[in-house]
């Protein structure tokens, strides 16, 4: 059942095509995250849903009502802005109640709503302060509170955590997740930070150049990307990409050459016709350092210790560098020669057009 339905949404600026036919359907209560590099159109999409930008084609339907041409305030949406956009001349209480006062809600009701929202966001003690007397996290909570009091059908978040420091960001991320559990309201969230997308979302929408690249749960996107773009965008550190050459086609497997080593790839995991050249994608955690043998050899260039684990940057022949996730206590020295085992089950193959041509083993 679609709650928010976006059909062939277009946005043209004078000589710039920002949204190129977006089709998306969101279920009630879902937490959807729009993610993508800057300029991909994610903010434009959110602002078009909000009615802050007008669309130049297509339609938006919310809860069975066409809202494409409706004014922002009539859409039953609330938005939390990147800069919080609190009214600097009003107290926290006035900020929270502004929309209600505009809607001529009775004073008693306003008081009750402001009280309950400020209690749930721990803003009680701050109601008489002005925004400039608040810390970043407090401002953020006021901005969220201002959205909650209106009890909208959908919450829109435009990179709400990007102005906070790292520790606070993690904390607010959790608070948002809890808030979503508690309210159960549909939320749409824009970010360029894929960690936020992975941790918060029921479903992630990846945008690229004004189009939807892929929609899916965080795990789906991680394990089954449709394209090189998605594969590279999701996951830190990035997926390793190694061009393979000298492909030999055999009956039940594909054999390709990587820096003198051969990799055997089951043919049943190839979608469609067998490709003539491929790029091999493999995530750092699917590579293992082994004492000898292995599928690849290289020289350690740099090790990043994270405490619980370490990432070894390894230089292969031909100046190609790959990243391998290693145990935290492994004693690795710069310049040391290492052997690497590749988990063939986890390999993803891309063709020349950056499309994925392989499937994961359980689907093969």
């Amino acid at each position: 059942m679609s709650y928010l339905a976006i059909t062939d949404l277009q946005k043209h600026y004078d000589n710039y095509h920002a949204l190129r036919g977006i089709n998306l359907s969101i279920i009630e209560g879902e937490f959807v995250v729009f993610v993508g590099p800057s300029g991909c159109g994610k903010s434009t999409l959110l602002r078009t849903i909000a009615g802050l930008e007008s669309s130049t084609g297509g339609s938006i339907e919310l809860d069975g009502r066409d809202i494409t041409e409706l004014a922002s305030s009539k859409r039953d949406l609330a938005m939390v802005f990147q800069s919080y956009a609190l009214y600097p001349h009003m107290t926290v209480a006035d900020n929270l109640s502004f929309a209600l006062r505009l809607a001529k809600v009775s004073d008693a009701e306003i008081q009750e709503k402001v009280r309950s929202v400020s209690a749930s966001l721990q803003l009680d003690a701050l109601l008489d302060r002005k925004p400039k007397e608040l810390s970043g996290g407090q401002r953020q909570r006021v901005a969220i509170g201002r959205a909650i009091v209106r009890q909208p059908k959908v919450f829109l978040f435009d990179e709400p955590l990007s102005n906070l420091d790292a520790a606070l960001r993690v904390q607010m991320r959790l608070e948002l997740a809890r808030l979503h559990k508690k309210l159960g309201t549909t939320m749409i969230y824009v970010t360029h930070d894929q960690v936020e997308a992975m941790t918060l979302a029921d479903r992630v929408v990846i945008l690229n150049a004004g189009q939807i690249e892929q929609v899916g749960t965080p795990l789906e996107l991680y394990r089954k990307p449709n394209s090189r773009f998605v594969a590279e965008f999701i996951g830190t550190p990035k997926m390793n990409l190694i061009p393979a050459d000298k492909i030999t086609h055999k009956e039940d497997e594909l054999v390709f050459d990587m820096f003198g080593h051969t990799i055997h790839f089951p043919a049943k995991r190839i979608k469609g016709t067998q490709p003539d050249s491929v790029i091999v994608g493999i995530r750092p955690e699917h590579l293992t350092l082994v004492p000898e043998g292995g599928d690849l050899t290289g020289r350690i260039e740099l090790v990043e210790h994270l405490g619980s684990e370490a990432y070894a940057h390894i230089q292969l022949q031909n100046d190609q560098t790959i990243i391998v996730k290693a145990g935290a206590r492994l004693e690795l020295k710069d310049g040391q020669e290492v052997h690497i085992h590749v988990d063939v089950n986890e390999i993803i193959l891309f063709n020349d057009n950056d499309q994925v041509v392989s499937v994961i083993p359980e689907e093969a």
Binding site: A50, L52, S73, A85, L86, Y87, F98, A99, L102, R146
Partner: protein, 276 residues
């Protein structure tokens, strides 16, 4: 010398230098003020008298001879009247230019400024004749109208450059909250712009108060503001420096004191969009 001592010395020298220049530049005003309490004889004595018994005679004579209160009233009415009028006309224009800029907004703004480039003297004759034909010579109405039009471009410009820097997201938040355009202006933009509006008003009042082309050419006595009253003391009919100083002090004191009090406000407002 330690680094700290070096820095202290540097600050001291800077301060000394700044104080010297400030005192030199302020001296004429100080001297005018002091002279206004002297007798005419003391005023022109060489070497200058520094220790004397202050007298208020000059002030009472100025009021008697040229009715200071009357001219001060004219100055207040014209300066404040035209400033308020200019703000009423300029706020909507600046608002729409800042928040709904079109392709020609920049051209319109530069054109407005260019009307300010039009030298007053180029239109002196027709304005004089128009005023004469409509019985507006020596009237406050004429001055208010002219001052309003004269300052309108600068007022629009100052307001525009401030509005333009207001964060757009706040207005969008208001729109999401259900604010109509009218609500946006009255409940969000205006309260946020009180600083800018008051510093714009301040500059406009100062410019009107001190305006001395139209006030000297279009008024005689009834509507003459303080600038015109002072000009009447320029006649070379003898050296009445003490009285002249008293009259000048009276003419300038209101606006100078006003300026001192609002100095911070003025400093913040005078960016004309020149500061990011």
């Amino acid at each position: 010398m330690t680094l700290n001592q070096q820095r202290k010395l540097k600050t001291f020298i800077t301060g000394l230098f700044a104080w010297t220049i400030a005192l030199v530049l302020f001296f004429p005003i100080f001297w005018m003020f002091v002279t206004s309490f002297k007798t005419e004889l003391q005023a022109i004595s060489i070497p200058p008298t520094l220790i004397f018994e202050p007298t208020l005679d000059n002030y009472s004579e100025v009021q008697e001879r040229s009715d200071y209160i009357h001219h001060a009233f004219n100055s207040i009415v014209t300066a404040f009247g035209s400033t308020i009028l200019a703000l009423i006309i300029a706020v909507p224009a600046a608002f729409s230019m800042a928040f709904a800029p079109g392709k020609r907004t920049k051209d319109v703004l530069l054109w407005m400024l260019s009307t300010k480039m039009l030298p007053a003297v180029g239109v002196l004759v027709p304005i004089y004749i128009l005023c004469r034909d409509y019985g507006l010579l020596d009237s406050k109405t004429a001055l208010v109208i002219i001052f309003t039009l004269m300052n309108l471009p600068i007022v629009v410009w100052m307001l525009f450059s401030y509005f333009k820097d207001l964060p757009k997201e706040i207005l969008e938040a208001a729109r999401m909250d259900g604010a109509t355009p009218w609500d946006e202006v009255v409940k969000v933009v205006l309260p946020l712009s009180m600083g800018a509006i008051s510093s714009t008003a301040l500059l406009s009042i100062v410019l009107c108060w001190n305006e001395s082309f139209w006030s000297l050419t279009l008024t005689a006595s009834d509507a003459a503001p303080l600038t015109a009253m002072i000009a009447s003391y320029s006649s070379p009919e003898g050296l009445f420096w003490a009285k002249l100083s008293a009259a000048s002090t009276l003419a300038c004191a209101p606006i100078v004191v006003f300026g001192w009090f609002c100095q911070k406000q003025l400093v913040q407002g005078l960016t004309f969009g020149a500061v990011k």
